[in-house]
């Protein structure tokens, strides 16, 4: 069998495509398949996080549309100079300030990756005790809501008292 495209070389790449339920077959040689970009489909299965990110950002999968036009968007990060398009291509930001500078465009992406934009884990001790206490209060409030909705009032009361104690600690310090 010869290649469908050049009709000269033997066909050694056989492709079956299903597009909207319509099946099509093509038989190509390696060269023609490479030119048509069919081989990359097969051999480049390197599906990494950065490439996925880039895809998400480029595909217009609704991310851009979340961003109100009037919102202040800088073209490059003022601290490290990286352009947002560079991030979109590489999947890496340039510095910690990029997160603030690109926030309008970054936040929907982070939400898409993690399902949320709110850290609930470890807090560096250096951040000062207040941040940690606030985080704890927030977690306890969530627990409280859950307990109340499950009508576990006795346990809820214990959690409520804990929150009160922590809040007192915060206001004492302030």
């Amino acid at each position: 069998m010869f290649c469908d495209e050049c009709k000269k070389r033997p066909a050694n790449v056989h492709i079956t495509k299903m597009v909207n339920g319509v099946k099509s077959e093509s038989h190509l040689c390696e060269e023609c398949a490479g030119e048509k970009g069919e081989l990359t489909l097969i051999s480049e299965s390197k599906f990494s996080f950065p490439s996925l990110l880039t895809g998400l950002l480029k595909s217009g999968s609704g991310i851009e549309s979340h961003v109100p036009i009037h919102e202040h968007i800088v073209d490059g990060c003022r601290n490290c100079g990286i352009a947002f398009s560079t991030f979109a291509n590489r999947g890496f930001l340039g510095c910690s300030q990029c997160y603030t500078q690109f926030e309008p465009r970054l936040e929907p992406l982070i939400r898409r990756i993690h399902g949320t934009c709110r850290h609930t884990g470890k807090v560096p001790k250096r951040m000062g005790g207040a941040a940690g206490v606030m985080r704890e209060i927030e977690n306890l409030r969530r627990d409280l809501g859950k307990l109340v909705s499950e009508e576990r009032y006795e346990e809820a009361a214990v959690v409520r008292d804990k929150i009160k104690a922590l809040e007192k600690r915060l206001s004492d310090r302030a």
Partner: protein, 357 residues
């Protein structure tokens, strides 16, 4: 312990089989990604920035007594082969092993801790333990993290947590992973179904050498997918719970195999063991496959000539760079196949004769 000794020592603490669930779970690993405030991430940093990070971290290590026991290795000063060995030992990533200027690896003598400096993030703290010890591995990483934090200014945001170069790691910066050996699920064709179920629970699956690598030797790495919005404890518990299910599934399949197909199973294990004991040429892929069979044989008590520790060790030291390092010279692929087969025969013979390592 100097780099030379870390490399010459073929046995690492994680290879022990004296830990929970080592019949299926080989090792537990925790990684914390951290960056220093105000300095660009390594991908965007100038050489001066990178040198600054390396300097700050080195100072921190030298000032904190519990950290100063760690060995600081400047990768640009290590040979390409030594860097490759560190990657084969899973102490640094293959990217880090390229050893560009100002990249550091900070390693504990027993290899339970390794810190990569100026990889994708400024600091990546990794801990590695044998078997199913996710909690223990996290506690150690958490402690190292606190020690670094006492000297360094981490980039941290009230809302989104620890800042990382890639937004997929932001928040906790935590990746907790466990390496599992699933020969029974693979041979019975169930592994795809099990792993695709697992992937729906926020767990990512990779091959033996991390991101982008193929599953070889029936080894799979399970790890958390998201890093933000859940606490460290929740992420670890979720991975642990899911992994336990996979372990139970693998065990019950092994039981079934041994009940219903004992001869076939024993035949396969014994054949593989026979080849390991007698072959004169062996590729690394074949070695991984046969060692996987032998490990299954040991775990099901079908063979006794070799033990789990030796198999774990052989899986690492039969890799291309390690073989050449042990041989003390460069070897072409053909020569490596010879020296790999020899090394495996020797190790099994030493173990059988009950000599001390």
């Amino acid at each position: 312990m100097p780099l030379k000794d870390i490399i010459n020592k073929t046995y690492s603490a994680w290879m022990s089989t004296d830990a929970p669930h080592t019949d299926v779970a080989l090792s537990s690993r925790v990684r914390l990604a951290r960056n220093l405030g105000d300095i660009p991430f390594p991908n965007q940093a100038s050489p001066a920035d990178l040198a600054k990070v390396a300097g700050l971290v080195e100072t921190a290590v030298s000032q904190v007594p519990e950290l100063s026991r760690l060995e600081i290795i400047r990768l640009s000063e290590a040979s390409a082969l030594d860097r490759q060995v560190l990657a084969e030992k899973h102490l640094i990533s293959p990217q880090h092993a390229q050893g560009a200027e100002n990249r550091l690896a900070i390693i504990a003598g027993d290899e339970s801790v390794s810190v990569m400096v100026n990889e994708e993030d400024h600091i990546r703290i990794q801990t590695l333990m044998s078997g199913f010890q996710l909690d223990e591995a996290y506690q150690l990483a958490d402690k190292i993290d606190d020690l670094f934090e006492s000297r360094l200014d981490y980039a941290f945001d009230e809302r989104i947590g620890y800042i990382t170069a890639c937004p997929t790691n932001v928040g906790t910066g935590l990746r907790v992973s466990i390496m599992v050996h699933l020969p029974a699920l693979v041979v019975t064709g169930q592994v795809k179904a099990v792993l695709s179920a697992v992937s729906k629970l926020g767990i990512a699956i990779r091959g033996l050498y991390g991101e982008g690598s193929e599953a070889s030797g029936n080894m799979f790495q399970l790890s958390n997918q998201v890093t933000l919005g859940r606490s460290e404890r929740e992420l670890i518990e979720n991975l642990g719970a899911v992994t336990m299910q996979v372990i139970e599934q693998e065990r019950s399949t092994r039981k079934k195999l041994i009940m219903e197909m004992r001869e076939q199973l024993e035949d396969r294990v014994q054949r593989s063991y026979g080849i390991l004991c007698h072959a004169r040429l062996m590729t690394s892929q074949e070695a991984l496959r046969l060692l996987s069979d032998a490990k299954l044989g040991v775990d099901l008590q079908l063979i006794s000539g070799v033990d789990g520790k030796t198999i774990n060790e052989l899986m690492v030291i039969t890799q291309p760079a390690y073989l050449q390092r042990l041989a003390g010279q460069e070897l072409d692929p053909g020569e490596r196949d010879i020296s790999r087969a020899t090394l495996i025969r020797e190790r099994i013979r030493i173990r059988r004769e009950g000599k001390e390592r």
